[in-house]
């Protein structure tokens, strides 16, 4: 088996894990609250579509590693996947319908579970971080979010929306 193929099989399996976790979360959500998004055959189609779009995005990103333009080489995979999804969703409404049968909040819980696990060894690094930077961090995060929100509010007001 060629190394490139092995790599894609690995990505495919990890993405399969990701969509399985989403399905699992959506099922649990249904047990907790029967009113939430139901799991139908469209949900399975939607999960398949999410898997496919992700693979296409990975392939585009890998392919463009040969590009002479630094900006294109360094453009994140996440961005390619969003663009792929946007283009294909504009092309066919089926993709939109299928994806919307997947509950949004069910996608987020597994991601943050993974994120929490991935930083487990970093907690130690906090000791090397001064409390001053921690205070600054609060203002930095506040600054970017409040700054953008205020400008957006102003913009929406001016455009009469």
């Amino acid at each position: 088996m060629s190394p490139a193929l092995r790599k894609y099989i690995k990505y495919g399996l990890i993405l399969l894990l990701s969509v399985s976790l989403i399905l699992f979360t959506q099922e649990i959500k249904l047990i907790k609250n029967p009113e939430s998004t139901p799991v139908t055959s469209m949900t399975f189609a939607g999960l398949g579509v999410l898997w496919l779009f992700s693979m296409i995005g990975i392939a585009i990103s890998n392919f463009l590693q040969k590009s002479p333009v630094k900006f294109i080489r360094e453009f994140p995979i996440l961005g390619w996947v969003s663009i792929t999804s946007l283009v294909l969703c504009l092309v066919s409404d089926f993709f939109v319908q299928a994806i919307q049968a997947v509950d949004f909040l069910s996608i987020t819980t597994p991601i943050l579970t993974f994120a929490g696990l991935s930083v487990a060894n970093r907690l130690v690094d906090l000791r090397n971080t001064s409390w001053k930077v921690a205070i600054v961090a609060v203002f930095v995060f506040t600054g970017t979010y409040a700054g953008s929100a205020l400008l957006a509010q102003l913009g929406l007001l001016l455009s009469g929306n």
């Binding site: 894990l17 649990i28 898997w51 597994p110 993974f114 929490g116 060894n121 929100a149 913009g155």
Partner: protein, 262 residues
Amino acid sequence: MFKNFSYFLIFIFAVITISEMIGFQSIPIGPFNIGLLPLVFAIIITMVLGLQIFRKGFWKKVYSDRNISFAGKYLIFIMLPLMARYGADVAPQIREILQVGWVFIIQEIGNLGTVLIGLPIALLLGLRREAIGATLGIGREGELAYISEKYTLESKEGRGVLSIYIIGTLFGAIFFSVFAPILLDLGIRVEALAMASGVGSGSMMSAASATLVARIPEMESTILAYASASQLLTSFLGTFTMVFLAAPLQRFMYKTLVRGDK
């Protein structure tokens, strides 16, 4: 090895189950309503159980170095289906989004808030060169790359950006999931908050937009469309905003403020 990995998977399923069973909790604090989503419980549970004091016996197998590095290495792939979803949110509303397209571009400039608010505070606290790294942006990969290229990560500037990176990784999602609804209660429109959610980090954006959805479920499609369009724009323009606006502004403010200090 394989056994440890299966413990890891079982653990993930268990954490998801527990977090979802706790469900969405709304906690009123004074005039504000802080909403805690299952995703917040998921990140807290996994972080707390990962503390060194718990790493004995069974937990040591779940939190083996191999498993943790697996989670870190492939987090981005676990996140891809989320990004793949955003097309479906944006596509049906593409006309509406293009109509207010310039507002999306304007709010990108709001990311300069990190310098405008963060830098004076950092200098006031007595930080100097660390402040350069700590306030250039929210310390994601873009800023990390820029600072390490310009100053190296061993420098004081590098330490600053690394610290923000670590704090953001650990607490960013929790912070935004609490902060977004506070601004909502202060009277900022949900559309504006949704646009602002595209801060450039996937997990922070999901946390911010998810709490907004939980608060105003009838606006779900608009919130997600705006948040993801803005996130996509940040991944295009973020580097330019940083290099051509944030960095020069920071240099100017740093010189002015530090000189006035002496």
